[in-house]
Amino acid sequence: MGGDRAATEVQVKELSEQEAQDLFDRICRRELGISAVEFLSRWDAGDYDATDVDSVPGLADVTMALPLIREI
């Protein structure tokens, strides 16, 4: 980018397995108030199967981040 650009440093940061799990846990806690373990337990049990992802505040944020920890 040309011109008199200020010094915003943009980086791509690659997480380790543990860092990815920790980030997903923080997202779950921030958005849904539950741990990643609890969220995944409910997810795998089908508790969200009939849920409109837009009807639960924060659920879209969590589901969008799922590839951090799972190949889905």
């Binding site: 980018m1 010094a7 943009v10 879209a60 981040a65």
Partner: protein
């Protein structure tokens, strides 16, 4: 945004996004987890600055998350003759005010439980309503931040020009713009 291998394709995909975000003044990191190395056909996600998103001084915050996957492409369709490119699987952008209240959410989540194949927006005053609209690029969202007065690293005119340049590869190589293949236009039926 093609590449010779999955890693190259992802780098070519992320580079314009990183470049676009550089017009916003503040800490910017695209966080990814490639699980040992990018592979074709596997979903990945990038997240802007983790769970808190990017602070926009005087405006609030920008949160951005995008799912993506490396797929085959026709080498004849790009100058390098490369066989792989990245396709977007979904996105979730939102601009949040200084009181931590969402101003606007840009959603496209066509996969998984309660999937919705259509890109849509939730905006004040009714964040529950779905405003269906064509696919929204990250550059469009950044232009929205600019409109709201987000601090920039360049003047506004230069930012707009720059965003047009970074958006160009996506516009050139994307396979759809309005409605995803196979998804009927919202509210339109064969009888209308």
């Amino acid at each position: 945004m093609p590449g010779r291998n999955p890693h190259e394709a992802v780098v070519a995909f992320l580079d314009p996004l990183v470049d676009a975000l550089a017009v916003l003044d503040g800490h910017v990191q695209l966080i990814v987890h490639k699980r040992g190395g990018y592979r074709k056909g596997v979903p990945y996600v990038w997240i802007l600055n983790g769970e808190e998103g990017m602070s926009l001084r005087g405006v609030g915050r920008l949160r951005a998350t995008m799912q993506f996957m490396v797929i085959d492409c026709d080498p004849a369709t790009n100058d390098g003759g490369h066989p792989l490119r990245v396709t977007t699987l979904g996105y979730n952008y939102k601009i949040i005010d200084v009181h931590d209240q969402d101003i606007i959410r840009f959603h496209w989540h066509p996969r998984g439980h309660a999937k919705n194949p259509h890109p849509h927006v939730h905006a004040r005053p009714n964040l529950d309503a779905h405003f269906y609209m064509p696919r929204v690029t990250l550059e469009t969202v950044i232009r929205g931040c600019l409109e709201l007065g987000a601090p920039l690293t360049v003047d506004a005119a230069e930012a707009v020009r720059h965003l047009a340049v970074t958006e160009a590869p996506h516009v050139l190589y994307r396979s759809w713009a309005d409605w995803p293949p196979g998804a009927e236009e919202p509210f339109r039926t064969s009888g209308r």
